[in-house]
């Protein structure tokens, strides 16, 4: 049934893909979200609608894009619109079910930092910045976040909130007037986190097979809460692994090397 030899990254991508349902309209970030979304499309969700911020709607790439605007996205799209139209009519217009994001850093309320480490005016590390994320986080029906779990990435306090999750928790998001529900799940290479219904603090609700509670706690910069009924992610099926590996192999052939660069 399950293939015993797979990587934590593969498990993460597959676990993320499983959360997407057929016919969902998904606004996809580049990198891990893009791999997961296309895996979903190539397995259980053939009619999922994938949208990239470059204006490509209903795109069906056969290889993963290296950039958000690869020619493959345009060539296989149902329609290609301008970037202002994308953000105005399609995202802000409330047409997106799921915004699927990566992140450099998140905190316990799934607020995201992709801007700076250190002070804004004199950063230790200058990250790329916001891109489409602040408005995806605000306007998508809900937000899925996928990133590798580490104490460097899962921090007690963000130096900068680029894109809001649940702010300082509770009903803060509702009070701030967001149209969308915000982050409802964080998928990592170790497991799955979901927000507590009241506090909105993200808690570990599932571990991937082989990962331990201690690993997850050690890889989290805040005092990670663990759900009583901690589930175990079913391992990848043969089909999932085959499709994912074929996708990565096609991609590597097309781009000349690994595509999931940082």
């Amino acid at each position: 049934m399950a293939d015993a030899t797979y990587s934590a990254d593969e498990m993460m991508t597959i676990a993320a893909a499983r959360l997407l349902r057929n016919r969902m309209v998904c606004f996809v970030g580049i990198g891990l979200p893009s791999a997961a979304a296309n895996l979903a499309r190539l397995t259980h969700a053939p009619d999922i609608v994938l949208i990239y911020e470059s204006g490509t709607i209903g795109t069906k790439p056969s290889v993963l894009p290296l950039s958000i605007g690869d020619g493959e996205l345009s060539a296989t799209a149902d329609t290609v619109v301008s970037v202002p139209e994308m953000f105005r009519y399609w995202l802000q217009g409330g047409r997106i079910n799921v915004g699927f994001l990566g992140a450099a850093q998140i905190d316990r309320f799934a607020n995201i930092n992709t801007t700076v480490i250190g002070p804004y005016g004199k950063p230790k590390v200058r990250l790329p910045g916001a891109g489409g994320a602040p408005e995806i986080a605000a306007s998508a029906g809900e937000v899925f976040i996928v990133l590798r779990q580490s104490a460097r990435a899962f921090v007690e306090k963000l130096d900068f909130i680029t894109s809001a999750g649940h702010l300082d928790g509770g009903d803060a998001r509702k009070r701030a007037g967001f149209p969308g529900k915000g982050p409802t799940v964080v998928i990592t290479d170790l497991g799955v986190l979901r927000p507590h219904p009241e506090t909105k603090e993200f808690e570990l609700v599932a571990l991937h097979q082989g990962a331990t509670r201690e690993q997850a706690i050690a890889a989290t910069g805040w005092k990670l809460k663990v759900a009583d009924a901690l589930e175990t992610t079913p391992p990848p099926t043969k089909d999932e692994l085959e499709v994912l590996r074929a996708l990565h192999a096609r991609t590597a052939r097309a781009h000349g090397s690994s595509t999931v660069a940082a």
Binding site: G71, S74, S82, V83, F87, G177
Partner: protein, 289 residues
């Protein structure tokens, strides 16, 4: 009214030191040849605007052309950091760079508002984000109908737009196809516009509702085959992903960057000459053929 001219003449005539310049192209159709020419002519003190600074502005920032930068995502797509951009922001090299940081949705709206002749755009944006704390240009407005608080952002109205497109006809009408980004808005928001194209044809033969810029909104049309490289032009050539990866090595150290720019850009006459230069230098590593 568009004049058919060389890129060298267009940049010399239309871009002045101190201008606000927007070289646009969203991953696709990035006007790299025009970026090189701006560096080659040693334009200074530019206020650069672009959603994704990308390699094109990494080069201009590293060569000291820019005093400020308005942007929304400053990375090397699929690869990592823009090292010259980071060096300028983190260390002020080669000169301090004032940044005006916004989001994609903001800048896309701001270009559209500029094209629409408006001083501002309104959007549902930045809720809960720290960006407005560091960019005083991001304000709010109350909707007089619903009481909702919306973001109000200044429109972008550059002095000069610079874009690349598939082709123009002999009258200078320009056709863009595929991922068209914010280029139409950028041209219409700007006082002047330079368009490099792959070729000039007798007739555009464009389908109805294609993205066309009539010649009377364009200042100069310049034929520069492969002028978007290492970006791509749908229907002509693919994205040179290898170059984006190689750039990470070239741009990481100041000296390597300067030597590369001096040899291949500053010492070459034009984009065709640049292509010969890098082809001769790095036939394997930079697969620019």
């Amino acid at each position: 009214m568009a004049e058919l001219t060389t890129l060298r003449e267009a940049v010399a005539a239309l871009i002045k030191d101190g201008d606000q310049v927007a070289c646009e192209g969203f991953t696709h159709l990035i006007p790299h040849a025009a970026g090189h020419e701006i560096a080659r002519q040693k334009k200074r003190n530019l206020s650069l605007v672009r959603m994704t600074p990308d390699l094109i502005y990494d080069q201009l920032i590293g060569m000291g052309c820019a005093r400020e930068l308005t942007f929304s995502w400053g990375g090397n797509p699929g690869v990592g950091s823009l090292h010259r951009f980071r060096d300028a922001v983190e260390n002020g090299w080669p000169n301090p760079l004032v940044i005006h940081e916004r989001s994609h949705a903001d800048l896309a709206n701001a270009f559209a508002a500029g094209a629409a002749g408006l001083p501002l755009a309104i959007m549902r944006g930045y809720i809960g984000s720290d960006l407005p704390k560091h960019n005083p240009q991001i304000k709010t407005l109350l909707c007089p109908f619903t009481g909702e608080t919306l973001a109000a952002v200044p429109s972008v109205r550059p002095d000069v737009a610079v874009i690349h497109a598939q082709r123009a006809d002999r009258k200078g009408n320009v056709l863009l196809q595929g991922i068209v980004g914010v280029q139409k808005e950028t041209v219409l928001a700007s006082k002047r516009a330079i368009v490099t194209v792959e070729e000039v044809v007798g007739s555009l033969d464009a389908p109805r509702n294609a993205v066309i810029l009539p010649n009377w909104v364009v200042s100069a049309v310049c034929v520069v085959p492969r002028g978007a490289r290492p970006s791509y032009t749908e229907g002509y050539y693919d994205r040179d992903n290898g170059f984006y990866k190689a750039w990470d090595v070239i741009a990481r150290e100041r000296e390597v960057f300067l030597a590369w720019m001096t040899k291949h850009v500053m010492s070459t006459a034009d984009f065709a000459d640049y292509e010969r230069s890098i082809a001769a230098e790095q036939p394997k590593q930079v697969s620019h053929g």
